[in-house]
């Protein structure tokens, strides 16, 4: 299930095949089951008072909705403030443009090595591939990201990238790939190895890359949330710092950050706060001894503006990437992050990927849900995920209504057969005489029902009409009692 090729396309058949492979992998299922149980319990312990939690969620939702309603002006304000602070602001329509901007910065500094803090947006743009192609090493420095990169994989969870791996697998990987390291299953020793390797790289790196958790428009501040300190290393030690973020991450005021930050860490890993909260407002000043001399921010659209254009789907952009929806998703827990084949797995991935990659590639994703509603219940910013899944299922199987621009890949899952079946169903159920005739025929000729019924009988007994319809049975009963 390694993904050496860029994850740009998720054909439905491949998605189904991967989910089958994942559910058959007892090891993988055990890893995810226990990790998700652990994370759910830790989150629950942080919210002992449900009414307090609901107040926090309402405030967080209000902040995100307010920020999104004013998104264009807040982005401009952010750009003005950052520019005044000495930060270079770039805009990118898509991943390729973002990568080109970053490669250009790297080339201007003749950079050979870039160290990366955790950034899902840079996964989204496949930055590592692009850097490699440009002859610049891009090294992940978050422990989990470092581990998956060392194994030529992708993160399987947005918060805990190596959650699918056991410590034995990591011990083997280190012994194999890190020079001079012998096999050890001690987690402290393994982290020590990563620390030693990466400290060396922080010193050498020409550029540090980071994501952004919140961008504050009024002050021109980039906020970063982390436990390890690699984010601080990447944004402080190299001469150049490049931050990359989706256009939706902006809030107006610094005072809007605490409620979001408090819910983010509690929802994600059940921590009241992370070890570090890093607020960056500019490059090194002339009298300062450290910090990057140049700071850049790349603002990426990648079709987020398509979600923005629709009032219902705009809610998708409220997301603060806590990962709680995947931790609580019965489907994610069973198939793991890699099966989705997208940068963002789980419920949030099912509602955001169709915008980023188009429905032609992703129409199977919104169907990977039982609509149990657990995601919406835990989402700290109250995104109605199940409603959006249903909406996207509809968009994938229908043309856009008149007067509205089609979504990328609109109607990609349309099927003549399915349309015909529904048309037939509608005809049958709106014409009583036809319905009665059908029921009579179906019950009398039930012996002719095919024993193999496509996907249904793969793991279920065949569907078969009853010997008599309910109406007939009731009529018989009435006669008998008379």
């Amino acid at each position: 299930m390694t993904a050496r090729h860029p994850l740009q396309f998720v054909p439905a058949e491949e998605f189904k095949a991967r989910t089958r492979a994942a559910t058959d992998d007892a090891h993988l299922r055990q890893s995810f089951r226990s990790a998700m149980d652990f994370l759910m319990a830790k989150r629950a312990a942080q919210f002992p008072d449900d009414s307090a939690l609901q107040r926090q969620r309402e405030t967080a939702e209000a902040i995100r909705r307010y920020s999104l309603a004013r998104l264009p002006e807040l982005l401009e304000q952010l750009e003005r403030r950052l520019t005044a602070n000495g930060v270079h602001v770039h805009w990118a329509e898509n991943g390729d443009e973002a990568n080109a901007i970053i490669i250009d910065i790297a080339r201007r500094h003749s950079a050979k090595l870039m160290v990366k803090g955790k950034s899902m947006v840079s996964e989204e743009t496949e930055l590592n591939h692009a850097m490699e192609a440009a002859g610049i090493d891009a090294l992940e420095s978050d422990m989990g990201e470092y581990i998956v990169q060392l194994d030529g994989e992708k993160p399987s969870h947005i918060i805990m990238p190596a959650i699918h791996k056991t410590k034995q697998q990591i011990a083997r990987l280190f012994a194999e790939k890190v020079p001079g390291v012998s096999y050890t299953e001690s987690v402290d020793a393994l982290i020590g190895i990563g620390r030693a390797v990466l400290r060396e790289k922080f010193m050498q790196a020409d550029i540090g890359l980071s994501g952004v958790n919140f961008a504050v428009a009024e002050t021109g501040t980039l906020c970063l949330v982390e436990n390890e300190g690699n984010g601080r290393m990447c944004t402080t030690v190299p001469r150049v710092h490049v931050a990359i973020t989706g256009i939706e991450k902006v809030v107006e005021k610094l005072e809007h950050v605490p409620p979001l930050y408090g819910l983010l860490t509690r929802s994600a890993t059940g921590q009241a706060i992370t070890t570090y909260f890093n607020m960056i407002s500019g490059p090194r000043k002339p009298d300062e001894q450290d910090g990057p001399e140049e700071v850049h921010l790349v603002l990426l659209d990648n079709n987020r503006s398509q979600a923005y254009a629709d009032e219902q789907m705009r809610a998708t952009l409220q997301c603060i990437r806590c990962g709680a929806c995947m931790n609580h998703c019965p489907v994610y827990t069973r198939i793991g992050g890699h099966a989705y084949g997208t940068t963002y797995p789980g419920p949030i991935g099912e509602i955001i990927s169709p915008h980023m990659m188009g429905l032609a590639a992703t129409h199977a994703l919104p169907t990977a849900s039982s609509l149990c509603g657990a995601c919406a219940e835990v989402c700290p910013v109250k995104i109605p995920i199940p409603d959006l899944l249903i909406r996207l299922r509809g968009e994938a199987t229908h043309d856009a209504p008149a007067g509205r621009a089609p979504l990328l890949g609109q109607g990609a899952a349309k099927s003549r057969l399915m349309d015909a079946v529904w048309a037939g169903w509608a005809a049958l159920y709106t014409r009583p005489a036809l319905y009665r005739a059908f029921a009579w025929l179906a019950t009398r000729f039930r012996a002719l029902t095919p024993p193999v019924q496509s996907g249904w009988t793969a793991s279920r007994t065949p569907l078969r009409p009853a010997p008599r319809s309910l109406r007939e049975q009731l009529a018989e009963r009435r006669r008998a009692h008379r």
Partner: protein
Amino acid sequence: MSARDRILGRLRAAAPRTAPAAPDVHTLYEALHRPTSRTERVARFCAQMTGWRGEIVRVTHANWVDTLRGLCAAKGVNSLLYGPRGVHGEALAAAGLSVLRPYDRPVDTWKEELFERIDAGFTSTRGAIAETGTLIVWPDAAEPRLLSLVPPIHFALLDAGRIHDTLFDAICAEGWGSAGGTALPTNALLVSGPSKTADIQQTLAYGAHGPKELVILLLDETPAEAGTDPATPTTEARP
């Protein structure tokens, strides 16, 4: 047309004509249960910080330098990095600590030495947050950013009178980044314990990339007298 104009154009065309009212964050925090005295607030900070594996050592103005000297000896610290122009720089220099190393030149000129030969770093703090057991660190030209990151041990001096209840309180009381308030430095920081990770099988390990130990020298002259201090934010001028 640039990418910027195209993106902004699309957003502007789609933005709702009337924005919802500004979110009311104050009400959320007003409803919080708060410590009722300074003693309680300090105790809460200490309990939370200890939970993050921060070590708390109570000191006074008279003895903190000697306490630091003792801690360095006990922890085998042979080189203690500090900012000579920092608020406590003079006091430290005057005490004649043999392990002191000044951070007084651009990092680029001595990166390897900083990474490989410094055992501990010392910083002041701007204040702290009781709710989450968090230090507010405000690096500047006198106390550079890497002081609290690269050395394996971070010593931080905290005035107990400068502990706020919540992050929100700290931002509002000091007006971080707002006109007429406190200007944000290049890199403001919140620090809650030593660096850590749980990326290998959810097993917690300390000292991921940053300090393995965080030691807080808690400057608290007020004898424990509950109830004397109303629960107002602590907003005295910076020491």
